[in-house]
Symmetry: D2
Subunit: 117 residues, 4 copies
Amino acid sequence: MEQDSLIELRDLARAFAAERDWGQFHTPKNLAMALTVEAAELAEHFQWLPTGAAHELDERKRVGIRHELADVMLYLIQLADKTGVDLRSAVLEKMELNRAKYPAEKVRGDMRKYNEY
Amino acid sequence: MEQDSLIELRDLARAFAAERDWGQFHTPKNLAMALTVEAAELAEHFQWLPTGAAHELDERKRVGIRHELADVMLYLIQLADKTGVDLRSAVLEKMELNRAKYPAEKVRGDMRKYNEY
Amino acid sequence: MEQDSLIELRDLARAFAAERDWGQFHTPKNLAMALTVEAAELAEHFQWLPTGAAHELDERKRVGIRHELADVMLYLIQLADKTGVDLRSAVLEKMELNRAKYPAEKVRGDMRKYNEY
Amino acid sequence: MEQDSLIELRDLARAFAAERDWGQFHTPKNLAMALTVEAAELAEHFQWLPTGAAHELDERKRVGIRHELADVMLYLIQLADKTGVDLRSAVLEKMELNRAKYPAEKVRGDMRKYNEY
């Protein structure tokens, strides 16, 4: 059986940082900060577009978006690793909470926050 | 064989949004914006701490961090899905680029950006 | 003559932090991180709206936006203060650079980045 | 009497956008998004540094920080302008609220959020 992607990528990220002796810089705080920076670089590609739909993106932007998605993912995986969080379990757990906060029949077609109802 | 986590979570996120008819709000631009918001909520847990190491976190913060990591992951998965990016492939590709930009022997123990060398 | 707003607000922010002995936490790095957090809280008010125009905002949102604008301003003023930057001079200087990078006759009605031309 | 800085800079920002016919792109939502992007570019200068204190910054970083502070300020001023918020009044009002939320004698030397007490 193949290895699960999230485990595979976590192990690659660990090896990449270890080979460069970057563990000393990779405190949870620094990784969280780097994550916000990469998330903003990703958002920058969309900021003056109407919606970011495919036809609004040229090849250059498409490649940039792809790379920034990867950068966000890499810091997310590393921050989860450093804080001992299993990303898959955390998402499954959070989706349960979201199901309770946003019952489908109540919020259908509406994006207000749950506490605004 | 079990399903890969990234595929499983993408499918769950798709179903969650579809059940609530939220596709209309989930433009790439809006998802990118939501991602920066969740990344900042994650960073907020660390902002006044020295490093965010385990002993600096109480149970309340630990749970909050776990939930925010999940929120970032959910928006990241959905944005990748909407822009047609396979996250695993994108990360593998980006790591190749990073290996070329930051050769281990050159950057060991140093975090300056590659263009500052 | 009245005091200039930027000086007045800087002095108030200084006094507020001093009274609470918060200078120890207000490193430039921490202030920069807090600024991104507040900027995201501001953005959160707009993330699912079409444009954020006045008619899309209810009173609750309007008050929230006002408070978040103030929070961003407060961290911006404090970070400028800690790094020895006069905000007014810095803005005037940056506008000169922007005028050179984005000549009005060249970029009229176009928001692509200057290096995309 | 000289003009107040905040009014002066707002008027300059208005003229700059008008000369380029950028008003169509400057919705509150887009400005809020641009503000988070610039705040992250500012934070990027500090992300791998211990504290961002003066001796950790070389001339190149110092200039970069100065420019990014200006960019954040420019978007902040424009977003306040578009949402009809007087920044000075908003900050004075928010500081009153902060004084009530964080009484000096209670929070001295402590940065926990007010709702964690």
